[in-house]
């Protein structure tokens, strides 16, 4: 078939992965079309709340980055274990750090697309790609609802559900274990109150992120995380729970969100704030072990569509930006017209040299291991932490050493001893994986 190509490269999905891919390819002199189903940039997308500056710096120069419409710099991070009535926190502050920006996706994607357009990317919004075009076993373009667009390479950056990668048979069908479901509420609260409550400066040069473990009263065996971010005059509060755990417990995630909002620590964060938006999204947990085939004849997959994420550390946009960049560069640097999967597979080799493959490898078992101990993490240890601090903070007229002895022995008596041993081996396993990772 003689094909009249509309572009050298078509990128499906204008999230961080797709836009980064488009920019990187256009910089190498290619004609690039970037297609998204959303009417407005970023309006289908949600996340926790922060993009990381190191990844952005690898794509944009300093001067361009100065125009990023962020709302606050996130430089205070808290990890907290919630028990039924209180919490145990660990906070790290670094007021001079500029490593993460709180920015709404509606603003982030719009800003990135503006940069892409300036550099010559042809952006097509409001357009759903329904299928890929095939010519002799090669992907040669996309079928939208209305037309066909032809290109030499298609970069799939269509996000976590990636129906297109599924259609091509590049990945297995998803099962609930592969996904974390998250819902989030955005709350409005005036800027001054936010700054007073979280002790922030008024020039937006600092902000807080908080991660919470546990906090549910009744359901004890689910793996869940609660996250919270301060923006300029809004607050983000969301929960993530493994889809498998929700299914097994016949639990609706909004119930989890509502229950967490009743916890005194969480209640205090959002006091007097009123909800302005509710959103839901999946987080891929397919990781290293269930990674799709990353390239095939005429296609490359990047970002969430490939499951590139580290959910333990809430990193995803950085994986998307850098994998997109490498996908765009790989596609654009092929000049012998050999777009076979084999030739495109340089992409994987490039990824292997970066934190993307290295971290995916090191964390390949972590979520699975931790989820197996979810009862311990979300319920048992927060309870024990509470008992410990009750001993050392309450002057209850009982000798401290007798209480501490009793507390120490309780680890052996509370539960079957094998539970404790399983926890210990799991933590050691996780430690070994990271320490001896790539």
């Amino acid at each position: 078939m003689d094909i009249l190509y509309n572009a050298d490269i078509i990128v499906v999905g204008a999230g961080p992965a797709g836009i980064s891919a488009a920019i990187s390819a256009v910089r190498l002199g290619k004609k690039v079309v970037l297609i998204d189903r959303a009417k407005y940039p970023g309006s289908k997308n949600m996340y926790g709340g922060a993009v990381y500056s190191e990844a952005l710096k690898q794509i944009f120069d300093e001067k361009t980055l100065e125009t990023l419409p962020y709302e606050r710099i996130i430089n205070s991070n808290t990890w907290s274990f919630l028990n039924d009535t209180g919490s145990f926190d660990l906070t790290y502050n670094n007021s001079s750090s500029k490593s993460a920006y709180a920015i709404k996706r509606f603003n982030f994607e719009r800003w990135m697309i503006d940069q892409a357009k300036k550099e010559g990317v042809y952006y097509v919004p409001n357009t759903l790609v329904v299928d890929l075009l095939d010519d002799n076993g090669y992907v040669v373009g996309v079928q939208t609802e209305l037309e066909k667009y032809y290109s030499r390479v298609v970069i799939l950056a269509d996000g976590v559900n990636s129906f297109l990668a599924g259609k091509l048979g590049l990945r297995k069908e998803f099962v609930p274990k592969d996904m974390i479901l998250s819902v989030k509420e955005t709350f409005k609260l005036d800027k001054k109150t936010i700054e007073e409550r979280f002790r922030l400066k008024s020039d937006l040069s600092n902000g807080v992120a908080k991660m919470y473990f546990g906090g549910l009263k009744e359901v004890k065996n689910i793996f869940m995380m609660t996250y919270f971010y301060t923006f300029k005059d809004t607050l983000m509060l969301g929960v993530g729970v493994s889809l498998e755990d929700l299914k097994r417990n016949r639990l609706n995630i909004n119930e989890v969100l509502d229950e967490i909002k009743e916890h005194p620590d969480i209640k205090a964060l959002i006091k007097d704030a009123y909800p302005v938006e509710y959103s839901a999204h999946l987080i891929p947990e397919t990781g290293y072990k269930k990674m799709p085939k990353l390239t095939a004849n005429g296609v490359i997959i990047a970002g969430d569509a490939a499951g590139f994420i580290n959910s333990v550390h809430f990193e995803g946009t950085n994986f998307a930006l850098i994998s997109g960049k490498l996908a765009g560069e790989t596609a654009a640097s092929i000049n012998d017209f050999d777009y076979s999967g084999w030739n495109l597979s340089q992409y994987r080799k490039k990824l292997e040299k970066t934190f993307i493959m290295k971290d995916l490898y090191s964390y390949r078992n972590i979520i699975e291991n931790l989820s197996k101990r979810s009862g311990s993490l979300s319920y048992y240890y927060p309870k024990k932490i509470k008992e410990f601090f009750e001993i050392i903070t309450s002057a209850n007229c009982i000798s401290k050493s007798s209480q501490i002895r009793k507390f120490s022995f309780s680890f052996l008596r509370d539960r079957n001893i094998t539970e404790l041993l399983k926890d210990i081996t799991t933590f050691i396993k996780c430690g070994i994986d990271i320490f001896f990772g790539k």
């Binding site: 509606f106 759903l128 609802e145």
Partner: protein, 100 residues
């Protein structure tokens, strides 16, 4: 509906009221009712964060209120019988997030 379900359903309704949608007059969700009639778990009726699926006892059918969909994709993956044919809403239709 028990009290817990009722309370959650009301809570979701309130949250959905904060969202902007560009409504499509055609559903992006198709359910294979034959499979549903043999399904005991009815996962769709509790898994969805927007409470889109309800089991209609009298009609003995699962009904999807597709207009409320948040486009997360969880239902499709959770259905034990692959009975849900779920597509993205047509170009430009569906949810419009501005504050997420």
């Amino acid at each position: 509906m028990d009290d817990k379900t009722k309370k959650n359903s009301k809570s979701i309704q309130d949250k959905l009221a904060t969202i902007k949608y560009n409504c499509d007059n055609k559903s992006h969700i198709t359910i294979n009712q034959n499979k549903c009639s043999k399904c005991k778990e009815k996962v769709c009726t509790f898994i969805c964060p927007a409470n889109v699926y309800k089991f209609d006892e009298t009609a003995n059918e699962v009904v999807a209120q597709y207009e409320n969909c948040l486009e997360c994709g969880a239902c499709r993956i959770s259905c034990p019988k692959q009975a849900i044919d779920w597509h993205f809403p047509a170009s430009g239709c569906g949810i419009i997030l501005k504050n997420s």
